[in-house]
Symmetry: C2
Subunit: 347 residues, 2 copies
């Protein structure tokens, strides 16, 4: 790894390490996104994949929320669907609509044709971006790398687009459990290589996003999510702290905390801080969980809710964040009020 400037703000890494902190670190999922006017300017000029594949643009976008909103961490600007791309699937992104895979996996044969690629080669531009971001950050805050969870990626690879229930993907798995296992396995191994490459290039923590795990029952989570999340976390740790976020899977918080080597688990806003602490038994750092819609309300309420959230989670072993990605129509000063409230917090 290159030699980068020493870290000045290490709150995130200390919180991930379970150390006592003067106040919790704060960042926001999708913090380098559509709510930022400067991002919208770039979005008007470059296609989504131009922004993702050009290291200079990805760097510029990744740094925006650090400079403009003052978060305690940067998170790589990229997309979870680069892994399906590396696995040979075409991915289109229709702005304002969402991802579309025009030729999704619809047979067992096609699924069995998917093989693990040389991800460092296929996604070299991301590792270049990571390295460039670390240089540009100059030690101000740590850089979080990320990937989609195998289950969530499989959902897109079979369904071909966003869905409210991903019933096509689920039906495929229920009809072909062994093929599903092969696919999840291949995605998992690819993801591990990918995250290792991000870490080698300079990512100081990684988050795995299981955006659609909450569509599964607790038993299906055991089959389609847990083994793969665990393998990723257990392989990456302890070299790098791993954050697992299984949105909607409140029932899995206990397992994720106790049966994996993750340093933190994400909490969505339907799960109360008290429930999350109780389920995880206090042995892990929690991250979350303000309802992103709350940032559309009055600033006084944002400040009140944010303070209350910190008090309920407790300032230690805690990373202040939203319960899901920031909404595109969030006023920047509301995002800033959220971040500032955390930064002003004292016991």
């Amino acid at each position: 790894m290159q030699d980068y400037a020493p870290l000045k703000n290490d709150l995130l890494l200390r919180a991930l390490n379970g150390e006592e902190v003067e106040r919790p670190p704060v960042w926001m999922m999708r913090q380098a996104g559509r709510y930022l006017p400067d991002y919208m300017t770039l979005r008007a000029k470059y296609s989504f994949f131009e922004r993702v594949e050009n290291p200079e643009l990805a760097t510029e976008i990744t740094l925006m929320p650090v400079d403009q909103v003052g978060t305690d961490a940067a998170i790589l600007f990229s997309d979870i669907l680069v892994i399906p791309q590396a696995l040979g699937l075409e991915v289109r992104l229709e702005e304002g609509i969402g991802p579309r895979l025009p030729d999704p996996i619809n047979t067992v044969d096609r699924a069995m044709d998917v093989v693990q690629p040389d991800v460092e080669d296929r996604l070299h531009y991301i590792m270049e971006a990571v390295s460039m971001i670390r240089t540009e950050l100059d030690g101000r805050v740590p850089l979080i790398g990320f990937a989609g969870a195998p289950w969530t990626l499989l959902c897109y690879m079979i369904e071909g687009r966003g869905s409210k229930d991903f019933s096509k993907a689920k039906a495929f798995c229920y009809q072909n459990p062994q093929t599903a296992e092969y696919l999840l396995d291949t995605i998992t191994e690819t993801t591990i290589s990918y995250l290792k490459a991000q870490v080698a290039a300079g990512a100081q923590a990684v988050q795995v996003f299981d955006s659609w795990s909450g569509l599964l029952s607790a038993e299906d989570f055991s089959q389609y999510c847990m083994p793969y999340l665990k393998r990723i976390a257990d392989t990456l740790a302890p070299e790098v702290p791993v954050i697992l976020f299984a949105k909607g899977s409140w029932y899995a918080l206990e397992r994720l905390a106790w049966r994996t080597d993750a340093s933190a688990v994400g909490v969505d806003w339907a799960t109360s801080p008290e429930y999350a602490r109780q389920a995880t038994g206090g042995n892990i750092t929690l991250q979350g969980n303000l309802d992103p819609s709350r940032l559309l309300g009055p600033v006084s309420e944002i400040r009140k809710q944010t303070r209350s959230m910190i008090e309920r989670f407790g300032k230690d072993r805690y990373i202040a964040n939203l319960g899901h990605g920031i909404l595109p129509n969030t006023p920047v000063d509301h995002a800033k009020a959220f971040v500032d409230t955390v930064k002003e917090y004292r016991d």
Copy 2:
């Protein structure tokens, strides 16, 4: 109320009443829906609101799953958005896309203009359908009436369409909590009149669907859902058994069971039977919770999962159902396998 034939299959009412049963009753949310070929034939001939507003058509559709799949209850074929219609909002239904309110409530003034209508007059065709269905059922199985929950209706009335987060509706509430309270109050009173009219016309149980309550945090549920669900249940009971289904609000099962007069609460598939029983302390009938996607899998698995579900809930104080509406692409014989497995169940 008219004099109808005595009930031959009273399993549902006995389960709602907490009585011991030889086997659990079974029905399916959206059982009179798009997976039935005969429904699709009518759908090709008549628009959605023709089907809802014509008592003969509504009766024919309501009886289809009783005749063709053998469920232990009929549920009125209608739509939750008849209440926003009765409140003066235009509602369009785009087949295959979903509901659209072209002129949703977007200001406080417009919200304050909403007044409680004479619902028996505005929705008389539904009470005619209820009465006609009871006559046609001839006592074979009981008829369930239903309404959307106030929060879910408010979501559509402000957002104007389906949404993955209803952030516009939520933002409106966060910005205008008193106006939201007025709207929820008005919807609640209208819903109570509506359900009373259904019961007077012959509905033998009623279900309230809070399809979008799971988008709220536990605290927001306290403000925007709980008081209204409670008022509806406590006003309707004990004249008629009330089933409350707050999808995604696993955190509210305890309150719904202990602090309302509901006879049953619905359970979605992300909530395990064990958790639901533990949270509700065994004092209430539970309804659910097979993942509707499971009906797209092999029949042998459907049978296995269904038997396991009954064993986990226990046969008493239990109504076998799906965890949400049956999916349009469900094969009829898969739905039948689900229903038959429950009907064949013996301790």
